[in-house]
């Protein structure tokens, strides 16, 4: 199993798109390419599980490394564990769905699909890199396509949103870069060379003074991507201005880059500092959870509703990581996958509704269930998953986070957990209200009577995402079993540095 294929396939698809002569070809090439990538990711998952049941216990599998810039100790070094597999599957599913819902893009379709695929190259590369430089490279690859996607194909105040998003995310990655360099020069030099090798750094002991300085940089830097309060302000603007597929990618994939980075880089490599700063993370993420939920209550635009609820839901990811217990971290990873699928589905459904009704205002919609039953069913499923109905992935993930959080002792942590739990009630209010008034009742606008229901591409996209949500919701042990050994490794590193955690 050569992991570089996971980068090469989307890259070659993107290049192939450039050579297409019309938009039909562009669509099909991107679709086939992303489907192939989904197949490849699935194959990787089964190969991985096969190797694990075969008794392979090394931390990372399918590793390959090439000296990239040997003079500086920079390597192209990739490898995967269960967490990366979960992220890869998420990315692959969202990309296929994103390509499918963009089927009707007419304007500059070649450029659109090229940028989408380039963005996915960044995400795939990020999730499989084990060298911090390689990882940073891919992180930045995933930023700039968003600027163009939102700015060119977006709606509303798109230029403003695009610029805001690009600058905020780049500031985040600038913080990561400073932290990265500081970390690099604090590694033990071998033959006079420092290292960017993630696993090697994990086994070295970074001095605690350095950790105190680096950890906040890294965590906040990655946190900007995951809507860490108070750096979440790009989320509502960015999501609501973006075209449907870009919103799906943003919420489904990009925001997970941050969560993954917070876990894999910041927390894993600097456990002592993570423990010291844990209360700040918990505080900020609890604020994000509650603030996000209440802010959603005030929204009237469906995309803003989902964007603010993403702030709240992504709060759970950071909340789980900040709690530093194995169950909570496992829950955080599950929440990443669950939220990625669910929010992509939500944005997809909103996009389909908007395309037909030309409005996203809850007040102007109503009675849509009679007009477009399929799309509305999808919409309702996304909503129910978002409010954490058992049977869907949202419930499983949030439940795991709460259970894990409760395991951490201390009054402060318990209060935070209770508050975070309480936010679910608010979530139920805004979801049911939005769904109820846009779906139920008599048809408000007679023009809606004649609008067509979902086409095959939209059905396929929704089906794929719903399948993911339901599988995780009904059989959470599949995902849990995949990532549990690896959160254990991370916990090991944390408890080695910090006495009193388990």
């Amino acid at each position: 199993m050569n992991l570089s294929l996971l980068i090469l396939v989307p890259l070659l698809t993107a290049i192939a798109v450039l050579f297409c002569s019309n938009s039909t070809q562009v669509k099909w090439v991107s679709f086939i390419g992303s489907l192939g990538q989904l197949g490849l990711a699935t194959y990787t998952m089964f190969a991985y599980m096969g190797a694990r049941t075969g008794g392979n216990t090394s931390q990372m599998l399918f590793e390959s490394r090439y000296a990239w810039y040997p003079a500086l100790g920079i390597e192209y070094y990739v490898g995967i564990d269960g967490i990366s597999i979960a992220m890869l599957m998420l990315t692959a599913i969202v990309v296929v769905a994103g390509v499918l819902v963009s089927w009707n893009i007419k304007r500059l379709s070649k450029e659109f699909f090229f940028l989408l695929l380039l963005l996915s190259v960044g995400a795939y590369g990020f999730f499989i890199s084990l060298d911090l430089f390689t990882m940073f490279f891919f992180l930045e690859v995933a930023v700039i396509p968003k600027f163009l996607l939102i700015g060119i194909w977006g709606s509303g105040k798109k230029e403003y949103s695009a610029m805001k998003l690009a600058l905020m995310l780049m500031s985040g990655s600038a913080l990561v870069l400073i932290g990265l360099l500081c970390l690099y020069f604090n590694t033990t030099a071998i033959n006079g060379k420092h290292t960017f090798d993630l696993l090697q750094i994990a086994h070295q002991h970074i001095p605690i003074e350095a950790q105190r300085f680096i950890f906040p940089l890294m965590f906040v830097g990655f946190g900007v991507f995951t809507a860490l309060f108070p750096f979440h302000t790009w989320v509502p603007d960015g999501h609501s201005s973006a075209p449907t597929a870009a919103s799906m990618f943003l919420a489904g994939i990009s925001m997970k880059l941050g969560g993954y980075g917070c876990l894999r880089v910041a927390t894993y490599l600097m456990p002592e500092a993570a423990h010291e700063y844990s209360w700040i993370i918990i505080l900020l993420s609890t604020i994000a959870i509650i603030y996000g939920a209440f802010a959603t209550l005030m929204q009237t635009d469906l995309k803003y509703i989902n964007a603010y609820s993403s702030v709240s839901h992504c709060g759970f990811i950071l909340f789980g990581i900040g709690m530093l217990t194995q169950t909570a971290i496992t829950g955080a990873v599950m929440q990443m996958v669950s939220h990625g699928l669910m929010t992509a589905l939500f944005f997809g459904a909103i996009g389909m509704i908007y395309e037909r009704t030309h409005t996203r205002m809850v007040a102007q919609l109503g009675g849509l269930l009679k007009a477009i039953p399929f799309i509305i069913t999808v919409f309702v499923i996304a909503g129910l998953c978002s409010l954490g109905l058992p049977g869907f992935s949202g419930f499983v993930a949030e439940m795991t986070v709460f259970m894990g959080a409760w395991q951490r002792s201390g009054m402060f942590n318990h209060v935070a957990t209770v508050l975070a739990c309480a936010s679910i009630v608010v979530t139920a209010v805004y979801i049911l209200r939005a769904v109820g008034s846009s779906v139920m009742g008599p048809i408000k606008n007679q023009e809606f009577v004649t609008i067509p229901d979902a086409r095959w591409n939209e059905k396929l996209a929704s089906g794929l995402l719903i399948a993911g949500i339901v599988v995780i919701g009904i059989a959470p042990f599949l995902l849990n079993g995949l990532i549990l050994p690896d959160t254990h490794v991370i916990m090991d590193n944390i408890s080695r540095g910090v006495v009193g955690l388990k």
């Binding site: 490279f137 798109k158 780049m170 600038a174 020069f185």
Partner: protein, 469 residues
């Protein structure tokens, strides 16, 4: 002796030869065919560039006044490549220009001066090269004969450059007074760190900062860049600056190594000012040439950041960055030269809706700007990363933070241009432009360079090994 002489000075020899060929064409022919002449010159320059890779030797001449080695040969190759690209890009502008041959004779004379300057092993030779490379540049800046701004640019250029030369020369004379030698190899032995020597070093440093247009000695840059013809501007911003960086590396790293503690602090201040002020002023610009002038000031700040490390890695990153910078900046200037030559427009607002009629050129400009901003997968990302990494090696994270945060600021103004090109509406966008093949070739070379250089790890490694020796 004689054969040594020919081999060691081969790049200077070949340049002189080209200059004489062009000069005799000027003198002995009337009624010239401009296109043929331009093609001939470009072929000569291409041959000169290729020739730069062969028969490279190390050694010195004239009692160490002139010396060369593999690093210097590489540096000369970079300058030759840059000049070739500039020349290809100047095609559309020069096709109808009266003084085509004068342009080339002056241009190549400055290049010759730079070659001598890089190879100098003695302050006299250095100063000779410096003057040879700067005085003809002022004449070049004046080559848009009917524009007043062009003359103004030339005037500002000659005055400020003479002033900088004076300061440098004063520093050199003081240094000669205290050490009794002008030879680079002997001088370090006599550097005691006395007050007069430090004083003279400050003068020399200032002269360099002037030529590099580092803040606070940058004031001439924007006006000159704006007034001069586009090919001259691009030559100034890439080749002329590059040559100064090359000699600055050896002056700092070998000659004044014993003053490292002092020049680090001077560089620290200069870097912070250069990057920050360059960026802040770039945001406010409306003329695209002025804009690139300030952006190039900020870029110099990053080069200095690499140099401030005082290590081989710093020198390697600086040279590597200059290669990347050559491709990316000339890519951007190439499009601007094309637009300027055909549509006569040089304001940023003119680029609104540029994508509608010129998609390929838009992408070329965008990718070049991304590379300047340091966004992967373009080579600019690697260039910036290595410079910042080298700079961080000193452990001064305040400086690194300022530099890295400024990359975000710079991203803002680069994205502003991208936004104009792709997103802003315009009733009358620039019409479809048909550039000559020559300019297309130049842009293709730049794009290949921008994409490939980052992944061509061998290049960086090679420079590193050369520097290591």
């Amino acid at each position: 002796m004689s054969i040594d002489f020919l081999i060691l000075m081969k790049s200077e020899m070949s340049l002189t030869l080209i200059i004489f060929i062009l000069l005799s064409l000027k003198v002995f022919t009337n009624d010239k065919n401009h296109v043929a002449l331009l093609n001939l010159t470009n072929i000569l320059l291409a041959a000169n560039f290729v020739f730069g890779f062969f028969f490279n030797a190390s050694g010195e001449l004239f009692n160490g006044m002139f010396h060369t080695n593999n690093v210097i040969a590489l540096e000369k190759n970079i300058l030759n490549l840059g000049t070739l690209i500039v020349s290809l890009q100047a095609f559309d502008w020069l096709k109808n220009h009266k003084h085509l041959l004068e342009f080339y004779v002056l241009l190549l004379t400055t290049l010759l001066g730079m070659d001598f300057m890089i190879s100098s092993g003695n302050f006299l030779m250095f100063f000779l090269g410096l003057e040879l490379s700067s005085i003809p540049l002022a004449a070049l800046a004046n080559l848009d004969l009917e524009k007043r701004k062009s003359s103004e640019a030339a005037m500002k250029m000659i005055l400020s450059s003479a002033f900088a030369s004076c300061i440098t020369l004063f520093g050199i004379s003081l240094l000669y007074g205290t050490t009794g030698t002008l030879n680079f190899a002997e001088m370090p032995k006599h550097l005691t760190g006395s007050e007069l020597q430090l004083f003279s070093f400050i003068f020399i440093f200032t002269g360099f900062a002037f030529k590099l247009s580092a803040v606070p000695f940058h004031l001439w840059t924007a006006d000159v860049y704006e007034g001069a013809p586009v090919p001259v501007t691009s030559y100034l911003s890439v080749i002329s600056k590059g040559s100064i960086v090359f000699i600055f590396i050896s002056v700092l790293f070998t000659l004044f190594r014993s003053f490292e503690g002092m020049w680090y602090n001077m560089l620290y201040l200069t870097i912070v000012l250069t990057i920050t002020i360059g960026n802040l002023f770039a945001i406010r610009q409306n003329n695209i040439k002025r804009f690139l002038a300030f952006s190039s000031i900020a870029q110099v700040g990053y080069i200095l950041l690499g140099l401030s490390s005082g290590t081989g890695a710093g020198a390697t990153s600086a040279i590597y960055f200059l290669i990347v910078y050559t491709f990316s900046n000339l890519g951007a200037f190439g499009v601007i030269a094309l637009v300027s030559a055909h549509a006569g427009k040089e304001e940023i607002t003119d680029y609104k809706g540029f994508y509608a009629n010129n998609p390929t050129l838009s992408w070329v400009l965008t990718i070049s700007l991304f590379s300047l901003a340091g966004i992967p997968p373009t080579a600019g990302f690697f260039g910036k990363m290595f410079l910042v990494t080298a700079g961080a090696g000193k452990g001064n994270y305040v400086l690194v933070t300022i530099a890295v945060m400024n990359m975000v600021v710079s991203l803002y103004y680069y994205l502003r241009i991208v936004r104009s090109i792709f997103m802003d509406k315009n009733e009358t966008p620039i019409a479809k432009l048909k550039g000559s093949n020559s300019i297309k070739l130049a842009l293709a070379v730049c794009m290949i360079g921008v994409v490939v250089t980052g992944f061509a790890t061998g290049l960086f490694e090679n420079i590193n090994t050369l520097i290591g020796k």
